[in-house]
Symmetry: C2
Subunit: 333 residues, 2 copies
Amino acid sequence: MKASAVARANIALVKYWGKRDEERILPANGSISLTLDGFTTLTTVETGPRAPRDELILDGKARGTDTREFRETVSRFIGLVRHEAGMLDPVKIVSRNDFPTGAGLASSASGYAALACALNEALALGLDARELSILARRGSGSATRSVFGGFVEWVRGERGDGSDSHAVPLAGPDHWPAFRMVVCLTDTQEKKVKSRAGMASSVATSPFWGGWLRCVEADLEAVRHGVASRDFSLVGATAEANALKMHAVMMTTSPSLLYWNPRTVQILQAVREWREGGLECYFTMDAGPQVKILCIEDVSPEIRTRLSRLPHPPDVVEASPGEGVALTEKHLF
Amino acid sequence: MKASAVARANIALVKYWGKRDEERILPANGSISLTLDGFTTLTTVETGPRAPRDELILDGKARGTDTREFRETVSRFIGLVRHEAGMLDPVKIVSRNDFPTGAGLASSASGYAALACALNEALALGLDARELSILARRGSGSATRSVFGGFVEWVRGERGDGSDSHAVPLAGPDHWPAFRMVVCLTDTQEKKVKSRAGMASSVATSPFWGGWLRCVEADLEAVRHGVASRDFSLVGATAEANALKMHAVMMTTSPSLLYWNPRTVQILQAVREWREGGLECYFTMDAGPQVKILCIEDVSPEIRTRLSRLPHPPDVVEASPGEGVALTEKHLF
């Protein structure tokens, strides 16, 4: 009746942007991510007749359960699980991120992965990891990848019911422990346009949408190969180019999605300059203004020093490959 | 034997990015621009046996005539004209811009338009305006548009020899005198990657190149219609979206062309915010970090005030529709 799970954010190296099925959250393209150590969501769920109604307490604040946003996201997800479990009881969810929520740091990925895992336990759904990743997907597409640790591929799948669209672990966190993401926080406000609305708009309006889709398979293949052989240059260069393609699609969406701020660009240009000067690093970005710098551990101290000397230094969190979702004994209430 | 001409920069509302013929400078797509009042190049040429060899003095500095850049640009252009005129004498060129050179402010447009016009006179080539725009095109594609004032279309043309790829005046500077470009200088260094090399690289490598080409005709039609009917919202919105499409192509070029700096993005985001707040303005950008804000004259004072209050205010030059190229009595030597 009560269970807690911990999950970590993941950052895609080959991005997910656009769905082939809005209702089932089926992606138009496959994606590959790294689950991070250190961007953690802890979620406790309790279900049973004791709880008067569905309830969500996120980062210590009760979220209005009568809002349209709640109905369309968390409430919808709980409804799905209720249906699956054949039960009617309300669910109380208490969730806490140890990093900013809704600011392009994949809080919905860790959030729904943790929620799916906790519900699986509390309701005794008996889902295995693959099924759990399918369930997490129904909450937020990228959550499907946070079910596994390390380097993870979310296979697009072909079936209309989504039963073959789930995450597959490519290489666990121990495969390449020296891989680093230096996450640069340039602005921690919640973004104005959420990923879900943004990507639907891109599919409908960007003239570059078709071009984006045609590129993805080659990028997936390059990153699969790069991860397997620990070829950092291949993974980094592919990830940077892939992120720019996604942002090019975003900014040519109508209305245009421009997630960058001055600090974002300051860091993008700095990364390029450092790389030209021989310090190997690459950037990636998601639907928000944060920049994630990819590097190998032996150069991360130098990168952090240089970041701190920029005219407008960002807050920095360094992450290495992290574990997948897991149940925990620690409860939030 | 000696003649001087003045020409003004033009800023495209529907951009030129990519050639169908590198040698003849034939564009892959048509474009529409506004010739600006106030971004002026004055060029004096002298030819005859007195001059010992080809010579270029740009902004007061002699440019090395034995550099690869000179051979591939100005020297090549002079060679073409010599061939046309059937003469062998060296040419001395003295040219001065009243704005930064090579920083994304269309200095090559005003430069080659002025040079073509002065050579036409000095060598008595007898070219009419249409032929002059074809000649200017051979120096720099966008120069073809600076031959005319106001709103100008460069028609793509179909012929292999380029004889139908020239500028056409859509509406002179008196048609819409209230139209303004508030040019924001965010960085006046010469850019690392010149437009010519950049666009060739985009044609060869950007996955969005095909998508870009397929959009252009609709943008041209919208801007033609918007100019004719002085529909500022239509012209502004189309120009902003078109510029973002071009920059999306640039940043997905390999190696990636990212011309923006932190100030660039500061202004892009400010323009969007001001517009959402009811102050109608739009932006456009070329192959450089400058931002050109489009507005109508009655709001330009407010825009300039707001620009001056940004955390990192740019230098600002306000321009209105300007005249085409013309001979002048004022000589630079």
